[in-house]
Every structure is written in C-alpha cells, then in structure tokens.
Symmetry: C2
Subunit: 119 residues, 2 copies
DNA sequence: CTAGAAGTTGACACCCATGTCAGATTCAAG
DNA sequence: CTTGAATCTGACATGGGTGTCAACTTCTAG
C-alpha cells in the first residue's frame, strides 16, 4: 500500500511516517517513480512504534529494539545483545515508575471529580 | 525553607520551581530582600505537580486543578466547576489510554528481554 | 494526452518544560 | 565590613516528534 493509506489506517500522519523511515524505524520499497510502497505488516509495525513512542522511548532505542521483536508476520527476530537488554531493562523500570505516577494522578483527578459531583 | 532546599528535597531543579511559580502553580513568600520562602507543605505540592506533569497535563490545566485538590495540610479546597470537571474527565480518559499503552509496551519489552535471556 | 489526486524532498516553526549562562543582589558567618 | 554561598531576573538554547508550506514529480482515471 502507499503512504496515504497507511496514514489513514494507522492514524499517523504522512509526515511522521516519513520521519520514522529517516530514523530507520520503518522500511519501504519504492515504485519506479520513487513513491513509497508498504507491505501489509507495516500497519502493525507503525502501531507498535507509536506505542513505544508514547511509552517515552527515543527513536534510537526503538530502532535497536525493533529487529528483536517478534513481528506480526512471525519473521526471524534478531536476539538482543546483553548491552541492549540492560538498556531495555532500564526502560522497563522507567515505564513501571511512569505507570505508578499515572495511577496516582488518576486518583488525584478522581478525588477532585468526585468532590465536585458529590455535592 | 528556601528554594535550594526545596529543590534538594523534591529533586526538582530551582529553574523549574521558578517556572512553576510563574505559571501560577506554586506560591512563595518573599524575604525583605526578595528571596523566595516556602512553607513545609510546598514539598508535597511540588511532588504532586511533577506527577501531574508526568501524566501529561499542561501547566494551565494543573493551575485550574490545584485549588480543587485536598492539600496535605487539609486546607479548604475550592470546588471544580462543571466545565473543569468535564475537562478533567477527558484527562482521566487520556491517562487510562496511556496506562494501557504502557502496559503493552512493557509487555513488548519483556518479550524481547525474555527471548534474549532465554537462550 | 490530460487533469487532478497523491506523493516527493527540504526547510522552517512550534510546543513547553527544562538547562544554562550572565550579571547583579542578598544572606549569613567570621 | 568582608567574603563566599545562595538567590534573583532575564534571555537564549535544546530536544524531538509533529505541523505546515512550497515547488516539483508521479500516478491513474477518463
């Protein structure tokens, strides 16, 4: 599929898709004229990338991580180096802290909302 | 206490504390010479502010929210307007989505980490 | 062949909390 | 007083993903 359809189906702007490619997160074939051509699996990949971005990972971390992921198409995954594993473990810890923060903030919001609705 | 101590105790930079004040998130008394003076409760407040920032709320939302929060010192809380309540409900939904994303990302990381450690 | 939709690259702007630097002032201890 | 640490204000920079515009090229339906 082409970039417009991929953008529509993932909800990610064309701008961002091109950016992902420049960062080495998303590969694409090209038509003879130079237009990008994506396989079906690109949809899942883009969604995954977005999630990781939302989780606060940088493009370079994601770029290292992606080849080690079990793809939707069950492609052969590279195996993470020990160095990468420890970096990922740190990210995991960061995510845990982030989740804890979010739970607290949600509770804070709930208190205010409940107080306002309560009377 | 003064800004240096508050920064040390909260782990938030002096720069950010001054920024919070300019955004109306954090009040301070002043010494005759103009140095900021914070009450003990400022520590909790700053931590709360940081959590809300981490949860993706903007300073202006936080500024609206703070007066409605039950403070650590049990101060009198303002009551949120219906308009604010609905904005907060949206934020709450956003936080829920964010948590769901984080859980997925954490799982992704775990898969890669486990695969690398597994052999 | 042709028109209009869709795609390409490159450059510039923005957000917005935070870092950092400079120069001046205040505080607190000797 | 004096001196060094702490604080003040203001200004500029940064990161990093995304928006947007411009000028051009390619694709595709008729």
């Amino acid at each position: 599929m082409r970039i417009g359809e991929l953008a529509r189906r993932t909800g990610v702007s064309e701008r961002s898709l091109r950016y992902y490619e420049k960062q080495g997160l998303l590969a694409s074939g090209r038509t003879p004229g130079g237009h990008r051509e994506y396989p079906e699996a690109a949809v899942d990949r883009v969604v995954r990338i977005q999630e990781l971005f939302a989780a606060g990972l940088s493009s370079s971390k994601i770029a290292q991580l992606l080849p080690c992921m079990r793809d939707a198409d069950g492609g052969p995954s590279a195996v993470a180096t020990p160095r990468l594993v420890s970096a990922l473990a740190e990210e995991r810890a960061r995510i845990d802290r982030m989740i804890a923060d979010l739970l607290r903030s949600r509770e804070t919001l709930d208190e205010v909302i409940d107080a306002a609705r309560g009377r």
